[in-house]
């Protein structure tokens, strides 16, 4: 296996995530696309770790941190989505065009 195959796969996943981030109008689907991008980053990190075998498994530790921070971000993001849905009765980003009400 060469490292480029993993890098190209991760690049494809990342660009799919960018497409989803730009096209989707539902907030939860936008968050899903962000998760897809973070997943692509993880593939990159672990692939590099497997290429340069460090003595501390640096790439894998970094990937674990990315997973953890992504989980925290999803928690906060969905709490915000909940509040928005409570106040505006809509989870569509096109409806969030005012800073107030």
């Amino acid at each position: 296996m060469i490292v480029s195959q993993f890098l190209v796969l991760a690049a494809a996943l990342f660009s799919l995530g960018i497409y989803g981030l730009l096209v989707r109008r539902n907030i939860v689907l936008i968050l899903l696309s962000v998760e897809l991008m973070l997943n692509a980053v993880n593939i990159n990190l672990v692939a590099f770790e497997s290429m340069i075998v460090t003595s501390d498994a640096i790439g894998q530790v970094f990937a674990i941190f990315v997973i953890t921070v992504a989980a925290a971000e999803v928690g906060i993001g969905l709490a915000i989505v909940l509040m928005i849905f409570r106040n505006r009765r809509s989870a569509n980003v096109d409806d969030l065009d005012l800073m107030r009400y």
Partner: protein, 183 residues
């Protein structure tokens, strides 16, 4: 390394199978018409990624991915979807109308990243699949060289927990507050 050499290794067939499944699942995440289907396709993409990590001898990270991402984050997403869906159950207006420019942009990003990756790293090989990364190594690293980021990430999780509860808390109306006081 030529394409013929690359195809002749069985490990690369497994990689192709898993990789195409991950790409298909990722494509369906961003194009599904049903929100729940999009979340479930993300489960497929994450499971495929865990398989890729196993190919890369990263067993612990693969298991963390399955436990934390699929087991907790996607469940959280499904709860969020359940709470924020329109009562009629129909999913309308999920996509923007003009999709050409985002598609062009994402294609440009893919070409730029893929070309620069191949140009920079070319034929560098990866560890053979047989060798496993011991969990002991990751544990020693997390509590040795990376103990400060480890503790900081615990603070981040605590802050996210408290912040999430505070944000999503329902403020009591004055009538309800008086009721609470009376009791």
């Amino acid at each position: 390394m030529s394409i013929a050499d690359w195809i002749s290794e069985p490990v690369n067939w497994v990689f192709l199978a898993i990789g195409l499944a991950v790409l298909f699942a990722g494509f369906r995440v961003v194009t599904a018409k049903n929100v729940v289907h999009a979340a479930l396709f993300l489960v497929g993409a994450l499971a495929g990624t865990a398989g890729l990590f196993l190919l890369l001898s990263a067993e612990f990270v693969a298991w963390v991915l399955v436990l934390v991402y699929i087991g907790a984050v996607v469940v959280l997403f499904l709860f969020g979807i359940m709470i924020t869906r329109a009562p009629t159950g129909l999913d309308e207006g999920l996509d923007a109308d003009r999709k050409a420019w985002p598609a062009l942009l994402s294609l440009a990003v893919f070409v730029a990243m893929a070309w620069s990756s191949i140009d920079a790293f070319g034929d560098n090989g990866v560890l053979a699949t047989g060798s496993a990364t011991s969990t002991e190594l990751i544990g020693e690293s997390l509590l040795g060289r990376f103990v400060i980021p480890f503790e900081v990430v615990s603070f981040v999780l605590l802050a996210a927990l408290i912040g999430g509860i505070t944000i999503a808390r329902r403020d009591l109306t004055p009538a309800e507050e008086e009721e609470r006081e009376a009791v």
